[in-house]
Amino acid sequence: MKTFNTGGIHPPESKFTGNSAIEVMPLPAELAIPMNQHLGKPAKPIVKLNDEVKKGQLIGEADGFISANVHASTSGKIKAIKSHPHPGGQYAMTIFITPDGKDEWAEGLDTVAADWKRFSKDEILKKIKDAGIVGMGGAGFPTNVKLSPPPDKKIDTIILNGAECEPFLTADHRLMVESAEQVVIGMEIMASLLPAPVKLAIGVESNKPDAIAALEKFAAPKQIEVVSLKTKYPQGAEKQLINAITGRKVAEGELPFDKGCIVQNIGTAAAVFDAVCRNRPLIERVLTVSGMEITQRKNISARIGTGFKDIIAFCGSMSDKTNQVISGGPMMGKAIFSLDVPVVKTTSGILFINNRSLDKSRERTCIRCGRCVEVCPQGLAPWLLANTAQLKQFDEIQLIGLANCTECGSCTYVCPSGRELVHWIKYAKALVSSRQKRKSA
């Protein structure tokens, strides 16, 4: 069994929904579709108030090279275009649609393509770009950009990330079990875009034997290797996954390109299949609803723009003990500040938890136990980075590997003194980058 070679932790898996089939959520009474669901510049709204839109119609146009299209998730009327809470923790320009209940596709969409191999590379890339596909694991990097590496970088491996190492989350797991064929074809399509034939591998943590078996069935005839990975966090982090599967080490300041790799998420592969073979833009996604404070834990397929409140109603109810709702996984997700936020392209899960550690101030003095150094998958000294950040020595901190931190949170997970190590590191990163911007401006 393969794994990355430094650090890592074993948090309780808490994957309660691993065997629950994906349920399609009914259309809510209102959809709130933000314009920034990806890394880069927000999309430009191209519809006006009271416009009638069809399902899959473009409502936000990509603005610039690193940006992505946004589509109407159903047919209906534009009710408002205004600033609205976003699961990323800010307010964002959002288009509100009141569904007309007909759920009609726009013209030319939802057609079945006979054979995707007849499309040229440019056609496929255009379809992916038009469909507004972004990395669905959490970062939301536009997929068409990721699939067009600079010509001087020779890509020899495409890795599909089915590790899903975050506790609780099972969305990718169910997608691999239920839509294995689509995932594998999606991967083939992405591979066909590269100039030379490449090695294809799907990395799956060993705690999902049913997903491995389902993928094997379709992957084996196509020379795609399904790699069983050790169940260890953060196995699904890009750099760790590359290390586990190819043995290569993505060093500080390097991108996966530099090591000949492209890593794509399972959900992204399924979305590519939908875009190319079924002519459907990215308007829905699979996510896990879990946590100890929700009555029915489920994997659901929801339209982009579905409010968290509608999801709570669909999954029973949320207990009064809930004090945090998290968008994403418990290790790297974000605590949302309002239940008004909608599902976006990068929402891999929603967790309802009662975080008892919030009641008291947790941070205590460092007892120099060295656990954070031991578990850091990037080989850093998190205690030192946090201390340096607290002392605001922002020149010093860059010399000890600040940029190398992937913010996986393993150090904070293990700290017996409850220090918010990764928070201090993120704080330093934010200040360092704003200082650099100021300098260059």
């Binding site: 506790p167 300041g253 709570i312 290790m331 938890i353 904070t412 990764v422």
Partner: protein, 325 residues
């Protein structure tokens, strides 16, 4: 649903159940076999010494917190462990007032003067032991004989080695007795078996790593073996050095003290080697029969230097990389 008030905090939202308390009390648990063994060997006085040391350490911790106007840390387990370690480091017939003075030195002079838990440079229990040793040398080196009812005392095997030479020392001790613990010495130092059982627990819980104890034991063994081979009549065999004195207690429980040992693996190796070599040098040629406490304390002093060296290495690697670009 409307009654729910959402709170925002930063990821990760799950944490281990480990805390300062769990770390400290697990160390205490790991010392339990040695404590029980010492009570079995030396009787009720050993129990009394243990209780006095722990209670007075916790008491001084509370006092210092109050004086320094800091949140009470007296029950976080660190004072408990310091008291227990101090008890295991003294003979069981030490007068009670000396124990209280020792506890004061450990908590006030070695720990809180530097800023309390996490900030002390030297291991508090060792500072107290060395303080007692240089202040009351007679009381600290009259070792009760195990199982003696009338508190009969005698020199420890290492003491005999220093005063009467190898032959007398070897005659005074069957090595297996040294392993099980039925020899003269400090309360917790005598039984290698009980100490190793506790150390195994700490390894299992991953609270200590192998680097410090094994490099320390290894370097003592190697160093004494070399000199034993050169002149067997002047230098005792390595196994004698292994089971006598505080070497095993020191290597597994004192040198590995998290606060006063280096954080990086390479730093820990250097630290362990230093502790081992200094122990051997003091035992072979020093004025004192036993060198473990001094060796660890001296190396404690080097820890900031070792950590700084590791830091500079990290920076050097970083600079090399950015030059390449």
């Amino acid at each position: 649903m409307d009654s729910v008030k959402l709170k925002v905090s930063y990821a990760p939202f799950v944490h281990t159940k480990d805390s300062i308390e769990s770390v400290m009390y697990n160390v205490a648990l790991a010392l339990a076999p040695a404590t029980v063994m010492s009570i079995y060997l030396f009787g009720m006085p050993a129990l009394l010494v243990t209780v006095i040391c722990i209670v007075s350490c916790i008491g001084f911790e509370w006092l210092m917190d109050t004086i320094r106007k800091k949140p009470a840390s007296c029950l976080d387990g660190s004072a408990f462990v310091t008291g227990l370690l101090l008890a295991l480091n003294v003979p069981s017939n030490l007068p009670i007032w000396m124990l209280v003075v020792g506890s004061f030195i450990a908590i006030a002079a070695a720990k809180h003067v530097f800023g309390g838990l996490g900030h002390n440079i030297f291991n508090p229990a060792l500072v107290a032991r060395v303080f007692l040793l240089v202040s009351f040398p007679a009381a600290m080196t009259s070792w009760p004989v195990p199982f003696s009812i009338d508190m009969q005392t005698a020199a420890s095997p290492l003491g005999i080695l220093k005063t009467d030479g190898v032959e007398a020392a070897m005659k005074s001790l069957d090595l297996m007795n040294g392993f099980y613990g039925t020899m003269n010495g400090s309360m917790g130092e005598t039984s290698a078996l009980a100490l190793l059982a506790g150390a195994a627990w700490l390894f299992y819980k991953r609270y200590i790593t192998i680097y410090i104890p094994f490099t320390m034991l290894g370097s003592v063994l190697l160093f004494s073996a070399i000199f034993h081979m050169i002149d067997p009549s002047a230098y005792a065999p390595p196994l004698f050095h292994l089971v006598t004195g505080g070497l095993i207690l020191g290597a597994f429980f004192m040198a590995t003290d998290m606060v006063t040992s280096p954080l990086s693996i390479r730093g820990q190796v250097i630290f362990g080697l230093g502790c081992g070599l200094l122990t051997a040098v003091i035992r072979l040629w020093g004025g004192y029969p036993e060198g473990v406490s001094f060796a660890i304390l001296i190396m404690n002093g080097f820890v900031p230097l070792i950590d700084n060296w590791d830091l500079n290495e990290r920076k050097a690697i970083h600079q090399k990389k950015s030059e390449k670009k």
